[in-house]
Chain length 401, copies 2
Amino acid sequence: MAFLKVVSLEEAISIINSFRLEIGFEEVTLDKALGRIVAEDIYSPLDIPPFDRSTVDGYAVRAEDTFMASEANPVELKVIGEVHAGEQPSVKLSKGEAVYITTGSMMPENANAVIPFEDVEREGDIIRIYKPAYPGLGVMKKGTDIKKGQLLIRRGTKLTFKETALLSAAGFLKVKVFKKPKVAVISTGNEIVLPGEELRPGQIYDINGRAIVDAVNELGGEGIFVGIARDDRESLKKLILQALEVGDIIVISGGASGGIKDLTASVIEELGEVKVHGIAIQPGKPTIIGVINGKPVFGLPGYPTSCLTNFTLLVAPLLLRLLGREGKIKKVKAKIKHKVFSVKGRRQFLPVKLEGDVAVPILKGSGAVTSFVEADGFVEIPENVESLDEGEEVTVTLFSF
Amino acid sequence: MAFLKVVSLEEAISIINSFRLEIGFEEVTLDKALGRIVAEDIYSPLDIPPFDRSTVDGYAVRAEDTFMASEANPVELKVIGEVHAGEQPSVKLSKGEAVYITTGSMMPENANAVIPFEDVEREGDIIRIYKPAYPGLGVMKKGTDIKKGQLLIRRGTKLTFKETALLSAAGFLKVKVFKKPKVAVISTGNEIVLPGEELRPGQIYDINGRAIVDAVNELGGEGIFVGIARDDRESLKKLILQALEVGDIIVISGGASGGIKDLTASVIEELGEVKVHGIAIQPGKPTIIGVINGKPVFGLPGYPTSCLTNFTLLVAPLLLRLLGREGKIKKVKAKIKHKVFSVKGRRQFLPVKLEGDVAVPILKGSGAVTSFVEADGFVEIPENVESLDEGEEVTVTLFSF
């Protein structure tokens, strides 16, 4: 059974891309929308501002009435009323008239400019204007900020405070977002116990379960921890069946021991189909991709940094696709700090820590928890490359979602 | 009343720094910890690994028994038992003995090296070893990854999936985090209505309320929207009293109209004390800082970009301090895209959009919703500077928390 279906990374990704899952949508009110991912392009249902709006405190006028104004020969206009913010103006201007108006207020009919207070002299109902106002002075015209029908937010956008505020400004009470893909997570290994349990000799606490669940949460999915499977068929099968009930996607991280890897493939084959067993990358040899009842099942390496690397290469892109965020894996350019050697013919993913734009290789071994914590991402060393030189530019795929 | 207490930005910040608020702590289980902020330095309660651990599948040996091994004269050792992951070894080694061991398993007593399967020959109970093993080969020693008592996570760290995984690996079931500071948010203005309500002529939808609430949420606080105050004393007072009941901090964003600004200051003065009324920056003139019942009250400008700039300069640092994250306002270096003019004697904060490492000034005016949406942050133009030259290096304070 072992390594019967070793494929290239590209083949593995193409198999994953062929998975068709319908996660669906839901509507949430704006106060629950932060961090959610928009399910459709959103267009403005209104002009913003929705009316010609004064941008200063002053007097709304017909600009043409002021064209002759000068220091020597001020124009006099008659103030016929007031408009305050939030009101519909009750007056309309005729030649020679002005209206007192506050910032943000709706322009009265026939007015096309607002002269600031400080630029006029008022005496009773009369204001004196000493220089011409151009049409549009002190006015934000209807729809000049945002036009009705204009694209506001693209499908696949993760809502930050700016987008929720924009949706509010456009009058949306609710927004259609992707449902969170549910990822059911299983850790495996006789040596793994959960935090809070007593640690007996030979045991260690789980790291991958929490890491995958919370990485899924950060990506915009919903991580659900199912449990820790012992290194036996029945234990693993029971947890996979539970995972199928709660998850759209199942992710199993391997225990460190050898036997569990084949066990995982064998149980998946019993319940569904193993599509990939082993990917021609380092780390990734023990990685499994299968399908049970139409649900993708991933078996990832047990060592935390290897687990996270394969999660980032395989599971994260699937999640992002389901959320309309294809290709949103974060990458940055950096220079490698010192020469590192690889093996020709081996396609390696090297964990690195970023210090500014310098990528420092982490050579502690992927079994170390500290490698996992320090690694900001990984660098690919292709098959035909034997070493990366000091200062060589590399692309770092980030462990940051 | 108006602008009686205009101070410099530094004075305003120093007044804010003098506010003493106790927000307190709470314990949350790891599955609720993502995104929360750690309230104390966390040290490892155990060694990781907690025991000498095999890093390969193979045979645990006493290295000294293999020192004479060579291709010509292999050393023979007797296999006296097995250790699997998660077990406490039931055997201990004497001279000339070996134990079958799987990856991740606890080393048996007296063993100090693990020789991989593929490097030995086995015949019945006997293995043949063809080259010497050094002490430590194939072993991760107890505590070499993380030492008991080692600092794991600093106070003030925002927990990502990496830190929650690290806490899991160290056996923590719960983590002590800062309680979320509650920020009660009021919008003001007769023209402002909430999404979902009908928009009548002269009215616009609220933007600042949602923006501040969600910016607070992103910062790690809890934003609570209290409501929209009309431009009258009783309406504003009523909402401020409600805000004081639910919030540790109150943030009021001004309506666009002139009158409301003095109203806000006047109501704060009635209920408590106005400390600052106007900051010598642009935008920021109408900003108010007060205290009611020991709770900080901020009055921010109504224009969204101005509101957000003052929020970032004044409120965000206070929130971060309360969360042990002093100085964690995000800033990046950039080059200004084209020459921009300021006014000598005016300290200006210019909204900019980032395109790579280029900061593009947004000159649409801070009243535009699109300015707010496009602005990635702002650049300070000091009082004694009249212009920024094309390509000049600037520091952009980000609207991103």
